[in-house]
Symmetry: C2
Subunit: 269 residues, 2 copies
């Protein structure tokens, strides 16, 4: 990041999540540029809009490329921002008229609707799922496993916890996760409490060297982190998934978003 790198503003009348998400996606297509980023959420008054337009003008006046990604709904506020000297990308206005045509309906413009409480039932589901995932992290509880929609299983440090949290928080999936340990591999059987719920199970694996690196960071120099132990656990886990026809994926070089999207698709959740 330098004083001359381009600057991106993400401006929204709500949380700014939508503006950041699409804006950042577009910026990833310019991988050789670094961007200074500013998010401006909850912009709802003309005073605020003028103030932000002023900040944009100041940056643009220094000669730096200045891009404004906006999801502001109100045309008046949009006009104020658009009049600034930044390059205005109207993520909202560009598409809403297309949609009106497609749906033969008139939009009912309301700011900040996307990431508010919105659909109260769906929101409640997500919060309940977070609670469920917290309680059922790493096999801590076997209570109400029949209520799980998904049970992630894997050797330690293959990404069970962040994936469970992501699926619960973003998608409202009641996710339990369970570690596979030496004992399970020696018995060649799934942990007892989850055996009745085979159809809810999804397995994670990793790549031995990668797993060993991750474990070394946590517990350097232990058998637990050794390449031989990681290789052995992963081979056994894969055998167990195959034996029980449990769908699985290798999480070694995937983000939690990619792992989650793959699981949702494969498990048809």
């Amino acid at each position: 990041m330098t004083d001359t790198c381009p600057v991106a503003f993400f401006v929204s009348d709500g949380t700014g999540i939508t503006a950041e998400t699409l804006g950042s996606t577009l910026l990833t297509q310019f991988p050789h540029q670094h961007f200074e980023r500013h998010t401006v959420p909850f912009l709802t008054t003309a005073d605020q809009a003028h103030q932000v337009a002023g900040r944009i003008d100041e940056v643009a006046a220094t000669g730096r490329a200045t891009v404004v990604f906006s999801t502001v709904v109100d045309p008046g506020l949009r006009g104020i921002l658009e009049a600034s000297t930044g390059f205005f990308v109207d993520l909202f206005g560009s598409h809403i008229h297309q949609l009106e045509a497609a749906l033969h309906a008139t939009a009912n413009p309301q700011p900040g609707r996307a990431h508010g409480l919105g659909d109260a039932l769906r929101y409640q589901m997500r919060m309940t799922a977070v609670e469920y995932a917290m309680e059922h992290d790493d096999g801590q509880s076997v209570r109400a496993l029949e209520r799980a929609q998904l049970i992630l299983i894997a050797p330690s440090r293959c990404g069970k916890t962040p994936t469970s949290m992501y699926l619960a928080l973003q998608h409202g999936i009641r996710t339990a996760n369970f570690p596979l340990v030496d004992e399970d591999f020696e018995h060649r059987s799934l942990p007892g409490p989850i055996a009745p719920y085979l159809d809810k199970c999804f397995g994670l694996t990793s790549q031995p060297l990668r797993l060993s690196q991750v474990r070394q960071e946590r517990r350097p120099g232990t058998v637990y982190a050794s390449l031989s132990q990681c290789t052995w656990e992963l081979r056994n886990a894969e055998e167990m998934y195959a034996l029980n026809t449990i769908p699985h994926l290798n999480s070694a070089f995937m983000s939690v978003e990619e792992i989650s999207a793959t699981i949702l698709q494969q498990m048809q959740l």
Copy 2:
């Protein structure tokens, strides 16, 4: 949801998150319509594109309004989808040329870059933050509190846990959360372990009736869930925030996304 309601497809060469986020935001502007939703992630081959175009055609042939939100990067695949009879909203192509002009740079189109591992350092920060937030949920651990970037405090059930998880997972903020209990209020002082970190503290409050309802769901008929107890705790929490000049917000009617965006802004994280 009926057999005649409009249908939205979210099609992506990556996780589908960007297409869903902006697509859903646009659909919120048509609050009187219900949409049947289909997400198609990881579309990367012409065969897959033809197959999805076929599904879109089938739906559109029934006379239902059919909208396709696409963030597919590859122009060839986009062309296949656009040739279907669905109404094609090109969230990617509509803006990338504008950006090339603004940045005086040529985009380097790469699919699925937005929610992959991407910036490895930033991704690692997020995963570390999730681990930190899990360990420091509900005052479970006071180890390494000096490493926290944020300490959320509140009476039970004001939203500490999901907010911590969201900030950790989405923003990589190492967040601890600590309950405020009767004892703290009687002593009129912050819990001992967090007192040295006053500048990292952010308080949540709620609305007494709302808090009582939330607690009743968990523990019906208890003193803990009674309106009088909730009123007392919230009044004391607010006094404590004021006395210690701790920034705070009322979470009663806000989503976890809104709470998080407000905290990020106020704490300048």
